[in-house]
Symmetry: none
Subunit: 228 residues, 2 copies
Amino acid sequence: MGAATLFLWLQKSEVAARYRTALIVSSLVTAIATYHYVRIYESFDKAYALSNGIVAATGHPFNDAYRYVDWLLTVPLLLVELILVMNLSAKETTSKSVKLGSLAALMVILGYPGEISSDPTTRWILWGLSMIPFLVILFDLFVSLKTSIETQPENVKGLVKLARTIVVVTWSFYPIVFVLPMIGLTGGTAQVAVQIGYTIADLLAKAAFGVFIYIIAAKKSESIQAAH
Amino acid sequence: MGAATLFLWLQKSEVAARYRTALIVSSLVTAIATYHYVRIYESFDKAYALSNGIVAATGHPFNDAYRYVDWLLTVPLLLVELILVMNLSAKETTSKSVKLGSLAALMVILGYPGEISSDPTTRWILWGLSMIPFLVILFDLFVSLKTSIETQPENVKGLVKLARTIVVVTWSFYPIVFVLPMIGLTGGTAQVAVQIGYTIADLLAKAAFGVFIYIIAAKKSESIQAAH
């Protein structure tokens, strides 16, 4: 996450001015994630200790709130990042960002009480509620942004479509990881599987996606230069 | 590692735009290594303590995973760095980066279970498996990149060849260091020899190599300026 942040900061001046905000927003996502992963690392390190070859709980509870606060900030920004690279009108950029950003925040807020609950029924109910804004976002990305994608320059149309697909695929990891403790995984295995699952999903959705946004910006910058 | 990172950041704007990504990738390699060396330092410091003139284990296990996670990220990037400075076509740059980067990641992943094993047979088997992608990478660097090297401008042809040789020589350190505990070194001596060996290899393969990539980029920038 830190390396992706540095990459985006260093590449910022190498793309055309109009795409720099997309890179800046991408770098905020990975910078915020870097901070929270340090907190998660420290919390995990304090919560479990290795003694005689066995990892055991120390009594300090592991705090899942860092992850959800991270998502509350970064998930709306990820959508803004995607919208910014699409070159919509200023008005549409703002309205789409506010609409999709709010839905993303709602999705994260609904997920948290489920995540910290050990009751499967509570987890399923909140998972279901959280899926509503999730599906509305996906619907919006596929239906109402279709026109905007069709008007993208030829050399990046495929990339912008791919960026949207990456969002859909990487975001689908989260609701799957969330249900792992409800479908048979228990105790330490469930805890570790959930943490590793979310971490892989975060790396793809934030760091890899950020680099991808840079590739689109660099390609679009080339076509601007070529036009001059 | 930190100083090499700063050097590459500060020199970035002094080379021609087309070589900046090579410098940026080099700086990520040393930045990621800087982070992991801080973690390795802290882990080592916690694992051993000096008491009455004797260094003894404290009971906290030294965590070799920091080094392998570092390599998992930096070794593919090092190959990307070398490929970027060769000025291949965009298509060839991507395909070579993906191919060699994946082989490098596979090499590191195969090495780790061997590194943390104290059984010499297990170590030899995983060393052998890890050598397969290693040799494929070397073969690729020497055979299929030959044409690209021959088409380099005259004033940098020697430098690009040298960069490739540096990769081969510095990378050869790692499998040698890996076998030290299997050929007679034991206990604390083996542990210290392995850590010092890897550290020297890392400094050459990352920091010194990064500065070398800058030298090539600077030379190539000169010939672009001369051409205008």
